[in-house]
Symmetry: C2
Subunit: 336 residues, 2 copies
Amino acid sequence: MGGDFGPPSLVAGAVMALREYHHIQKLYLVGDQRQIETELAKHRCNDSRIEIVHATQVVEMSDTAWSAVRRKKHSSVSRAVDLVKHDRADAIVSAGHTGAAVAASIVKLRTLDGIDRPGIAAVLPTQFNVFVLIDAGATIDSRPEHLLQYAIMGSVYSRHVLGYKNPTVGLVSLGEEDVKGTELTKEVFKLLKRSRLNFVGNIEGRHLFEDPVEVVVCDGFVGNVILKTSESIAVAIFKWLKHELTRTKVRMAGAYVARHAFNDIKRKTNYEEYGGSPLLGVNGICIIAHGASTPLAIKNALRVAAESIEHRVNPHIVEEVRRYHETTASLEPALK
Amino acid sequence: MGGDFGPPSLVAGAVMALREYHHIQKLYLVGDQRQIETELAKHRCNDSRIEIVHATQVVEMSDTAWSAVRRKKHSSVSRAVDLVKHDRADAIVSAGHTGAAVAASIVKLRTLDGIDRPGIAAVLPTQFNVFVLIDAGATIDSRPEHLLQYAIMGSVYSRHVLGYKNPTVGLVSLGEEDVKGTELTKEVFKLLKRSRLNFVGNIEGRHLFEDPVEVVVCDGFVGNVILKTSESIAVAIFKWLKHELTRTKVRMAGAYVARHAFNDIKRKTNYEEYGGSPLLGVNGICIIAHGASTPLAIKNALRVAAESIEHRVNPHIVEEVRRYHETTASLEPALK
């Protein structure tokens, strides 16, 4: 029931995914049964893999995350997480209230062994590749050990899903020098330096897309700001470009001739292509789709969910955290 | 002596500014005398408005801000701030270690009455206008009252320098709803709500460039991340675009025909055009130029310095803060 465009967009995306991904065995659509049926009828879809799970409540954007979970037990997001909890589904995809999806996952699925707080791992584009930004907004008011755990989880995801062999890890700060940063980032710097991760040090926002590392670590507030700002400036630049390119007939002609170049770049910077970001650190798979999700974005979020199931990221995370505690942390009892 | 390109770029920018801005009466170049003279000779510049102030020390990027001020009393930034302190100059421009320029300004010039911490006011472009982002990186680990003071200072700057009548103020947070944010932003939200500023509520990164408010308030860490990320993604998009536009001869031809459109946009997103950002809240004028300042950026930073002198922003800030304390704060003694 979530997302800026509600059931029409979500159902349309689900139908697209079922038509394209034949390895999806079962797809639960959780929400108002009548609305879902209406939308499915529009697409003339009677795929037998669909099962509708009726939910009577909706989490509003003005609800706080924890009250949503405690008070709205029959919301679509709560019921969806229940399906994973009871092993009826392998993953959930939500385009609604991020905080509610995170809180419901924590309460019902619990965090993985050794993980205190989950983090959203957003995949962002660089010129020839992609990098992982973690935490992109799951947890606010983080402690140093949470950021260390994000670095471990981001590295595991980067290795097992994106295929980087020994992913470089950078910490978002005000400057590259070790001495720069907030109380929080200075503590995290020390933890990362002592870990066995491929930590390259502090990175500044200006290097994010130009000279990128493979895993970018920051707290959820900062990560969310990076994600949303990047998106906002990309949209703005294309809008300005369109405005400038349509100001004279000569420019319009030139732009028409070169149109494929614009389309290629637009695809690269378009969040719809990435679909959704996994919430790492919970004992289950939860994909956070963009709030303004179009059908294409939802289809791709379902693809990300399928990939996460396939790559079995969670056991690898538990193993990595265990190894960290056995090696680095055991040498420094104070860090535990 | 600061900036990624050092004296050559700084002196070249200063020479450009003197040739263009005839209302500059005096320009001190502070740093290694021999290096400065060599650079001036390259430009065949013997403008009588130039006075060289020799400085024997250089603040390194690896110095911490406070140790730089305490231990390197003969650094170029320290000597430059001294010139303002002793009324020999009206403003300083620095492209070096931001923390050192901020710390030297706080120690030598002191903060304005009613201001606890200074904030950098960066001016950023939207499609048809600009907005102020404050704090863009002067202060880290901020308290709620610091952000309230940024909002007041940003509003004053927006009104008196940029010409907005009743500037709208937004607080950077994770969502637009009042309940969303960190411990810090929730406190700031309450303070801004009770103030007489034109506060419109929380804003998300995604609205920064698309549906912008006129003053964007956040702590220095987040502001710096927004500034650097915006710059990074703009540079990256133009690089990707260039790559795509030169992949085939047809695309190259189209791009050539429409080239003026690209130049217009590039100018809009180019930090060199903005030159430098004022450090608001200190008792004097200090302009923080971009670290990677080209001569053009330095010339424009000197223009921003001249504008700041002309608009007499500081007395207006003191007046606004006084008015805040007389009205809002006096009703709520607990907020002081």
